[in-house]
């Protein structure tokens, strides 16, 4: 919750350009990119200077302003490196290391290695001997912050955006930080065939959602598309009443989007011939172009196969979500090359589609060659206990490495963020957690959560501890009402 040196954040291409210019400037220094909260991410491999020449002239003024702000930031201190020493490191991308060293600075990982890893001069050294450090957790399916999408007017809402609904001050986001979650895919519910656009967030301490949104280089907020089949999305008309009708409505929507594109293409540069903009169909086209991954709620084996069939027909990119009966069609899922984000519930049933869910699903999928992540579906499972899902899946046959990846790197890959986060590797975002014991043990306490090398959770802080344990006031949100406080008191 430390104050952040932050450029004025206004989403859009101009700002993205401004950042590119900024990082190319002298303020950026050599050690790493000058990153702050709310800034779009750039792949470490791409040297920022190459982006400089591409900045359009009309963005020069905002660039200059933003650059000045960044420069001011930089002069007040590019933060010194922080080195964590003595911990057992679980990089996920490689073998575990005893007595490891992790060095981070300005949002990035500078070094990861064994005890002989060089620690830069001037680094703040934090001895975490006896602790365990692993990447921050990536939750591929969460409802923290109340990210609702479409309403009850119909079954298809490609235009509805979770990011327009999310309450960044909801206590569930603080609880997720306490659970070590650093990245989450916030999804609308499953009561529609298509309930809306999801939002990929970094769970920073934010004043507004802009502080948490992940953006691409063009400034576009990252997210997928939530879809569902089976019983949750069936209801009285206009909702579908059967599984066949569900698939038919989805086919119709995709075809409508293709026709919309054909009209756009026929119109060429002639604005008079172009169809009126349709925000929903634009979003569906993002899906069909693979720029927006479909996160598809599905439980039963036949519903899973229907999703694979639709994907075959329309070619969208897909993550199967929940996949309770995926163990029955593991080979078919493997052959399709589709990853699964699995939910683990302590007992089967609760609804007809989930009667045959199993703790063994993740392990069976792994052995079939399917990429496996776990998710909380918070509030179905509590984000504070996200690691528990990985551990319970391990109990039932998922390998240890698979279990650790299922809540980190594998999940990041399902959100197209694996180049940026999900493992402890040089150049990646400094998103990590410090634990008191092995992450697959019930007794492991998450003591610290760091995002972009900023600590967002500290178990030794009484307020943060309250998020972790629950208790009186734990659900009041990060700030309590002003009228409950005294005048003139610094808060």
């Amino acid at each position: 919750m430390a104050p952040i040196c932050r450029a004025p954040v206004k989403a859009g291409p101009a700002l993205a350009g401004a950042r590119a210019a900024t990082v190319a400037g002298p303020a950026a220094g050599g050690a790493g990119l000058q990153l702050d909260h709310g800034q779009p991410w750039r792949a470490p491999a791409q040297h920022p200077s190459t982006a400089h020449a591409e900045v359009p002239v009309r963005t020069l003024l905002p660039i200059a302003l933003a650059a000045l702000t960044q420069l001011a930031c930089a002069t007040t201190g590019q933060s010194p490196p922080v080195a964590f020493t003595g911990a057992h490191l679980i990089p996920v991308s490689g073998p575990e290391l005893d007595d490891g060293v992790l060095v981070v600075q300005d949002g990035r990982i500078l070094a990861v290695g064994g005890p002989r890893t060089a620690i830069p001069d001037g680094a703040r050294v934090i001895d975490v001997s006896g602790k365990v450090i692993m990447p921050g957790l990536v939750d591929t399916h969460s409802h923290i912050g109340e990210p609702w999408g479409g309403d009850q007017s119909g079954p298809l809402h490609p235009d509805a955006r979770a990011l327009d609904a999310i309450n960044v001050r909801h206590p569930s986001i603080q609880r997720a930080q306490a659970g070590g979650v650093t990245i989450a895919n916030l999804m609308p519910g499953s009561g529609h065939l298509m309930s809306g656009q999801t939002a990929y967030l970094k769970l920073r301490d934010g004043r507004t959602l802009d502080d948490l949104l992940l953006r691409d280089e063009s400034g576009r907020a990252l997210g997928g598309m939530k879809m569902a089949n089976g019983t949750n999305s069936q209801d009285d008309p206009p909702f579908p009443g059967t599984r066949s009708k569900s698939a038919a409505l989805v086919r119709e929507l995709f075809n409508r989007a293709l026709a919309y594109r054909a009209k756009q293409q026929r119109a060429g540069d002639d604005p008079d011939q172009a169809p009126d903009p349709d925000l929903g169909l634009e979003a569906v086209l993002e899906v069909l172009d693979g720029r927006r991954v479909v996160h598809h709620h599905t439980h039963r084996h036949d519903d899973i196969m229907t999703v694979l069939r639709l994907r075959e027909e329309f070619g969208f990119r897909l993550v199967l979500q929940h996949a309770s009966e995926a163990w029955r069609v593991a080979d078919e899922i493997a052959a399709a090359g589709v990853p699964c984000s699995v939910i683990l519930i302590d007992s089967p049933g609760g609804k007809l589609e989930a009667l045959d869910m199993s703790w063994q699903t993740a392990g069976i999928l792994e052995r079939a060659g399917v990429a496996v992540a776990m998710h909380t579906d918070d509030a179905i499972n509590d984000s504070r206990l996200f690691l528990r899902s990985a551990a319970m899946a391990h109990r039932a046959g998922l390998s240890r490495a698979g279990a650790l990846a299922s809540v980190t790197l594998a999940g990041a890959a399902m959100l197209d963020l694996e180049q940026r986060t999900g493992s402890l590797e040089v150049g990646k975002d400094a998103d990590f957690i410090v634990l008191s014991a092995d992450p697959l043990s019930v007794y492991a306490l998450i003591e610290q959560t760091w995002i972009d090398s900023v600590q967002v959770f500290d178990l030794s802080d009484p307020t943060d501890r309250l998020w972790a344990t629950g208790g009186w006031g734990a659900n009041d949100g990060p700030d309590s009402p002003a009228f409950l406080c005294c005048y003139g008191s610094a808060r």
Binding site: S441, Y443, T469, W472, D476
Partner: protein, 434 residues
Amino acid sequence: MTTALIRRTRCAQTLAQRASMYRTRATATTLPMALLALALLSGGLRAQDLAVRGDVLHTMAGAPISDGVVVIRGGRIQAVGPAASTPVPEGMTVLRAPVVVPGLIDAHTTVGLTGWSNQDQDQDQLDGSDPIQPELRALDSYNARDPLVAHLNGLGITTVHTGHAPGAVISGQSMIVKTRSGTVESALVVAEAMVCATLGDQAKASGKQSPGTRSKAAALLRQALVDARIYAEGIAHDDPAERPDRDLRKETLARVLSGELPLLVTAQRHHDIATALRMAAEFGFTLVLDGAAEAHQLLPEIKAAGVPVIPHPMMARAWGPSSPFANASFETPRLLLEAGIPMAQQSGFEDYVPKVRVLHLEAAIAGRWGLSWEDNLASITRESARLLGLGDTLGTLEPGKHGDVALFDGDPFEYTTHCLGTVIEGVVTSDGER
């Protein structure tokens, strides 16, 4: 094919392993022991005769025993002690596991009434026709063959206090059963254990039905207890002609007033807990506090009232600020014990998923937040038996008690530990790694 089929496949593998790893035949080490065994054999080994040997045996009636053994005859524990000094009758089957504990006892659940599928045909935990229905008996709804009963049994839970759910001022009665399959009669331990009441938000009816407020819920409960008191006085009248007609509703509440049946009051918020304490003082019934998500705010009051608490399952959802669980804490079980308040843990009631929670997986979270391992295990064995009035027959591994045992390959609370088998009264009701 069902999930059970996968489990069976795995069971087959583990059974093969167990044949060499865990299942051994006792061998008499001395001649006198062999003679003793022969003598016992002449009496004949029966279906409910079994021994369970653990690398660590937690009797919960003393210090853990390294390489300990429990000998069960006729379903009751005959002997417990170090394997080296505790004779096992010749020919008796010996199960073996790294960690052996008493069969786990769930202090409160609704399993068997809240079925697997969560559809109308298997949801019998709550009848919405009247807010006060103490005459509803749990065993008239209990389905001993529901897959969730087997699920719990397979994870080491041998006894459950189950019945009507929170959600009405008085939803009905509870009972105590073993988690064996078959009929409810064959599983029954106590047919009428407690009467289940609810205060606060969870007691409110929808729409314009009563009760719509906390005060109305309390008023309905108070009036029902007053009516029962008058009924009890009437029934005791010397002249049979003066006695009222038999009324099962009032009769049941009269048994609450007499102290025969405890009133299990589910109350989450602090002011609902206070209301429960107030009414117990007013009417003198035996109160068991259930849920009690804000018990951490009233520890001295609860302690002074001498009331035991069954805190909510640890993973009950906190939801948002308006939830009755908004201030729920993983630390409540520990804080209750530190305050000297008797405490046993539960899996509770869940109206969605998981349709049944798993007792020790819930309790594990309290252990993560400072409840000692021994206190935690006691709260799902010895202390839950005591709270249910069964401390003399269940909850520890001591001679004379039921031969209910759970076998694990490690710390039962650990995420990655498997339950290897479950024994109820000397009969293996589940085996295979889970």
